[in-house]
Symmetry: C2
Subunit: 338 residues, 2 copies
DNA sequence: GTTGGCACTCTCTGTGGTGGAGTGCCAGTC
DNA sequence: GACTGGCACTCCACCACAGAGAGTGCCAAC
């Protein structure tokens, strides 16, 4: 159906449109991409490509621009992987050095991704499903108010307020001892199960306190699963200020909604490789004229969370995909090493 | 110099320009604000106001718009305090209910402020200078890697990685005991001083570990002072997409730079009341065509941090100031109550 | 299957003209 | 002396229009 030359033409149209930002005509195509045919031939091919839905004209007698379907074919079959520049590679290597905790790693990652791709970057907090409970602390703030603190083996610290109900320091210490003895080394999920069982084994005087603390623990482990997403590179939208209503505004609005971001990233999850959603392929209506390039990150065996960028459908897919892939891999390795 | 009527005219110009977004002429002014004089009289007064630098014309034979100086006078002397609507008041009351920790309070505050003012909101993390050390924990992650965790009396939890240098669990426990005994109840500043002295009193075998931990503690207390700022309501910039280059872009860029935000908010600090920086009064060059309305928040005796909004110089100052003031007061009270 | 030629279409740019809003100024009035 | 009505003037915003340029589709020829 589409012979080699038509594919080359589509590739050239996508490439040219992405870099020039203008509909591309047959003459320019022949000149800039050294196709050894005449513009007329290219026009015939373009007519076919248009009929098949890969390209379109903004209006009669204008050049062609790729459709979502055209970009899709380009991404699937035509985009040569563009290797990162050494500068970019070095940036990735050095950007993470000196990160002090997970927050910091996530913040640095988002900046890095935004800088390399020159787009808006989104990084989801890792769900360290392999991490185990390392330490559990109950700190008394006032007779009634306490704080349950959970530290996992990856160095993540979470806290939750807990109502101590006036329990004595001894009771609190007792409970802490029991919980630590029972839960250390377990995964969060198993820890919650175990804690649920534990409550029945507690002496009567510790039980009310135990119930309150374990409830807090449950909230902590269920509520947490990286509801959190960090965003960066928003000023990069400046490059699309001409398309304010179709591109800038919807992105700004989506960025404000954690839920939307999680959906955007979330639905690509499961794979460790880069996924691309182009235009209308996106699950979120207002972003129908933008694309999302995302990837899971983690170890070989375990995907922790996702990261990616969002930009106009007219983006440089090969470069963006290469950058997202490289950053995802690097962050995965970095976190695995601790 | 400026009699009562000229001030009324200035007030009317500011009000009209803010709501209509168009240069305002003498005729419209007379009609809409029931000035009991003729347009010609208003024109004479406007000529004076222009000469004094309070208003200007975008071009000859256009209406007038306020200058930064005009807005300043308006804010200082002419803006009647606009009370919050009951809906807004109720929003403030209910928005905070159910906040689980400081992160949550800050996030909710920023959303609230953005929603009420319909502008971009910025909230700085509170520096709870009155808070004291409540608990100090050293968690071992691996023989070499540990985590120093500091809990203060306000329920804030901070952590920092620390190199344990292979110290035995007994040594770690010993050090934890000593630190807790020595530091609990002290303010962060005093705690660091005390810890510095403590290192010399340590037995020789604990000393290297002690030095490492105390170094981490120092980092924690000095680095922390709310370097952190949270931003919300960015999509509200959509209302100014016509002024992309002068308003939207600089704001987006400033928002990416924590340092800039801290400066913006920081330089208004010290007072518990609302401060307004109009246009060129801002310390940050690119924001010269925007205004910042900010306020410290805390208790009567103690300012913890700042919050505010940033928007175009052409903003509804009375409403914005009222909202910022109300939110700052409410958050201060909310945090004080715990 | 490919190509050169040609008529056609549509956007973009610049030009000139017009209407309207608003001003500044002046002479007259209270 | 302050205010007002009138008037000439300025400048923007809007519109219509023409011409250039880019690009196309189609057709006949190779």
């Amino acid at each position: 159906m589409l012979d080699e030359r038509k594919l080359s033409i589509l590739r050239a149209i996508v490439t040219d449109y992405v870099s020039m930002r203008e509909p591309v005509g047959s003459r320019a195509l022949v000149e800039r991409y050294h196709l050894d045919v005449s513009p007329a031939t290219v026009r015939n091919d373009m007519a076919v490509l248009e009929e098949e839905g890969y390209i379109m004209q903004p209006h009669t007698s204008a050049g062609r621009i790729p459709t979502d379907k055209g970009y899709r074919l380009f991404v699937d079959r035509l985009g040569a992987v563009k290797p990162l520049s050494t500068a970019e590679r070095r940036a990735i290597e050095t950007f993470m050095a000196g990160a002090v905790d997970i927050d910091d790693v996530v913040r640095r990652t988002v900046r890095l991704l935004a800088q390399i791709t020159q787009q808006v970057a989104i990084v989801q907090y890792p769900i360290l499903s392999g991490a185990t409970v390392r330490h559990l602390e109950i700190v008394t703030l006032s007779p009634d108010r306490g704080l349950l603190i959970l530290v996992n083996s990856a160095g993540k610290v979470d806290q939750r307020p807990v109502d101590l109900g006036g329990a004595s320091p001894e009771l609190v210490a007792d409970l802490r001892g029991r919980l630590n003895a029972a839960l250390i080394g377990l995964t969060p999920t198993r820890a919650v199960e175990r804690a649920g069982a534990l409550v029945d084994e507690l002496p009567a005087d510790v039980r009310p306190l135990g119930a309150a603390v374990i409830a807090a623990l449950l909230e902590l482990t269920t509520a947490d699963p990286s509801t959190r997403v960090v965003v960066g590179g928003v000023p990069n939208l400046a490059r699309f200020s001409d398309q304010y209503e179709t591109t800038v505004r919807p992105v700004l609005e989506a960025l404000e909604e954690q839920v939307v971001l999680l959906r955007l990233l979330g639905e690509v999850a499961g794979t460790g490789d880069v996924t691309v959603r182009i235009g209308r392929e996106n699950p979120y209506e207002p972003l129908r004229s933008t694309s999302v390039v995302a990837s899971g990150y983690g170890t070989n065996s375990d995907i922790w969370a996702n990261l990616g960028v969002v930009g106009p459908t007219r983006m440089d897919y090969p470069s963006t995909m290469a950058a997202v892939r490289a950053v995802a891999r690097y962050v995965g390795r970095f976190l695995a090493e601790g």
